[in-house]
Symmetry: C2
Subunit: 415 residues, 2 copies
């Protein structure tokens, strides 16, 4: 069973947009155990699309196109498909009514040009578009399945759910591919790799890959099996091995975020937190409040960018700044203490550092960061030397700060 | 002149990563006026890669591959190229030395496996990799140019600069394609489209496209001409027309950000700003401090998430919250006043709203936001009804707040 994705559109070949459609469709097909063998992008040109379609139908069992379903003459996918598979276009009243309803609903008169979208190749099944006017099309050609979807991701993605249902019925005995992502923080890619190198695997029914991001590393386990349960039986022992190697460097799985994990730990422990930020400029508070329900444990943050703000608002001693510098463990601790006194929370973070590109001194390079965490029982601080541009250093600092909170809460919960 | 990009790697077809390499290479080739006709992604399988390579060399003048240059047996690009073009692999001492230096520099012993990367097809020119160990390769095959680059974007991108220089020398008379992006804020895509519909154009030497983002809209003008100057002569009059239609809704061009534009206006006017945030949770301060040098005009921000924080820290009247609610123009203004009194800045923003998914009431839906701006001369506030999930509402709110500051500063600077 081999699938192929054809993306139609000049804007892809011009580099105006990144082809995320092919990525999304590949991910969804993997759920059914269907292997994708090619992604092809081609412009809005009938001759080229036609030859690509013929080649794809010659070598693959399932061919999915995206793009070129709009109402204008530039949108050539449906017409080209009709010619390639030799099925004339047929006007569908039902589709036409839906297109008219779409405009009625928005109290706009339907441009006559949109009538074109009600034509689909004879013998094909149409797929409703919940967002736009272009219907999708599924058609069987000599035992192969050809599917045309719109190029706008917000339209394509819900329609892809219908495609998955269709293919699941069409190929009922197919295997499934399940994935689990193990998320690692506080350990660079190379060090993570060293610890799990022997488990990495790119071929076969079970694969294990390593995917570095700016402030965390993903380890991804994929397993192909006859059903979900069987796939997880392959995944579980590998996850266990990875966990035994990486321990507390693992902060979550799949689409969990560090701020989400920290939020859950805070809510469970019924503890509150506040933040005093300098170099991160509000990013830690922003991330904490990205979590729905964060008002349960987060009440306030203070971004003290200037020395004056640190002194007047957080009560950092002017002498401490003069003696140790604004970027020092002393000031980080004083910032945490200051905001905690004001906010009356259980925990408080104080963060100070040099995000660059300027501000470095002989003894204090760009990327030098101090993070202090004040808890009901104690105060701790850590020094970091981050590498990267301004935004990278801000992100890595926010990650390290949230990770200090996570580690504290994890330890506390296991007491 | 037709180019084609072949991306090699299972991780693309599995949907693990988005193929941004093809996008980047397309953008760079456009600078030389080279048209990209196909993007192909194929797995780490010699047979499939071999047939894709043969087809590409048959129909395109320039073929660029990415990926599959690593040291492991899964990395098959160089070997497959060598077989397809019938040029034996040759061991290159110079490359080998570079690979050894790479490991020496990091004080790591070179794994023997990396020796493999010192082999390239006979007659090819190698491209230095400034970041990793895999060299790139350029080889001429029957008048066509075949180029192999690594798949890691951080390695590929600097090497692509060398490729551009090579191709510029190789095809000296080529035309150039230049682009200009006009950035629009405060006007939805549909309304933007209405105003410039007759200028949009997808075919020909000059194209104009509209690209919506979560909190702004891009209008992109591309022009193909014999040189930069000629291209800009095509672009300029269209930009002028767009500007006359959209006026102050345009906040910048190309890669400018709204926070960067606001920062420049503040620095030029020698004015300072502070922020009191509720629903945005620190995002506005985070964005302001993403700009290098922001400490010139930004000194502090306060994230007052709870009512208590608004009252105790910003001096918002408890009665105002009781009478009008925390999400009200009264509270937004009081927040701006409160932080301004503390920070002693020229400008202050106060932002309060409901980011969701909970917190809505009968009269106050999710997405309701009040933004107040306090200036030396006056106080203004605006109400917004944003649509979207929590993060979208936070982003759109931060955008609207920064845009209020931009509009104030623009007006002031033209006085």
């Amino acid at each position: 069973m081999q699938a192929e994705i054809i993306s139609v559109g000049n804007e892809i070949l011009l580099g105006h947009i990144v082809n995320t459609n092919a990525t999304h469709i590949s991910q969804r097909l993997r759920e059914l155990g269907i292997e994708v063998c090619y992604h092809i992008s081609v412009g809005d040109k009938a001759k080229k699309l036609s030859s690509v379609l013929k080649e794809a139908l010659g070598r693959s069992d399932i061919v999915i196109t995206t793009g070129g379903l709009g109402p204008t003459v530039d949108d050539i996918t449906i017409e080209t498909i009709s010619k390639v598979i030799k099925k004339k276009l047929v006007f569908k009243k039902k589709i036409y009514k839906k297109i008219m309803d779409h405009f009625d609903h928005r109290k706009i008169e339907m441009p006559p040009i949109n009538r074109r979208q009600a034509y689909i190749p004879g013998g094909s099944k149409d797929l409703a578009n919940p967002v736009g006017t272009a219907p999708g099309v599924i058609i069987e050609v000599n035992g192969k399945v050809l599917i045309a979807l719109p190029g706008v991701p917000a339209e394509m993605m819900p329609m892809m759910a219908d495609v998955i249902n269709y293919l699941r019925d069409r190929y009922p005995s197919k295997a499934t591919i399940e994935s689990r992502i193990i998320k690692v923080v506080g350990l660079p890619e190379s060090a993570t790799c060293e610890k799990v190198q022997d488990l990495l695997k790119t071929e076969g029914d079970v694969t294990v890959g390593i995917y570095p991001h700016t402030a965390y590393v993903d380890l991804k386990i994929n397993a192909k099996a006859r059903d979900k349960k069987a796939a997880y039986r392959l995944i579980d022992p590998i996850e266990k091995k990875i966990r035994s190697r990486l321990g507390n460097f693992i902060f979550g799985t799949n689409d969990e975020t560090l701020e989400g994990v920290v939020g859950e730990l805070l809510a469970t422990a019924k503890l509150t937190i506040c933040v005093a930020e300098s170099c991160t400029g509000g990013l830690i508070a922003d991330r904490l409040t990205n979590v729905a329900g964060s008002s349960k444990y987060f009440t306030m943050a203070y971004v003290a960018y200037s020395n004056r703000a640190k002194i007047s608002q957080l009560g950092v001693a002017k002498k401490a700044i003069e003696r140790y510098g604004a970027v020092s463990s002393h000031v980080a601790i004083a910032m945490a203490r200051g905001i905690k006194r004001i906010a009356k929370t259980d925990l408080a973070l104080g963060v100070t550092g040099i995000a660059g590109p300027t501000g470095a001194t002989k003894t204090k390079p760009i990327g030098l960061v101090y993070i202090a965490l004040s808890t009901p029982a104690d105060e701790t601080w850590r020094r970091f030397n981050f590498i990267g541009d301004r935004l990278t250093i801000k992100l890595r600092t926010s990650q390290a700060a949230l990770d200090m909170v996570r580690r504290y809460l994890k330890e506390k919960s296991s007491e």
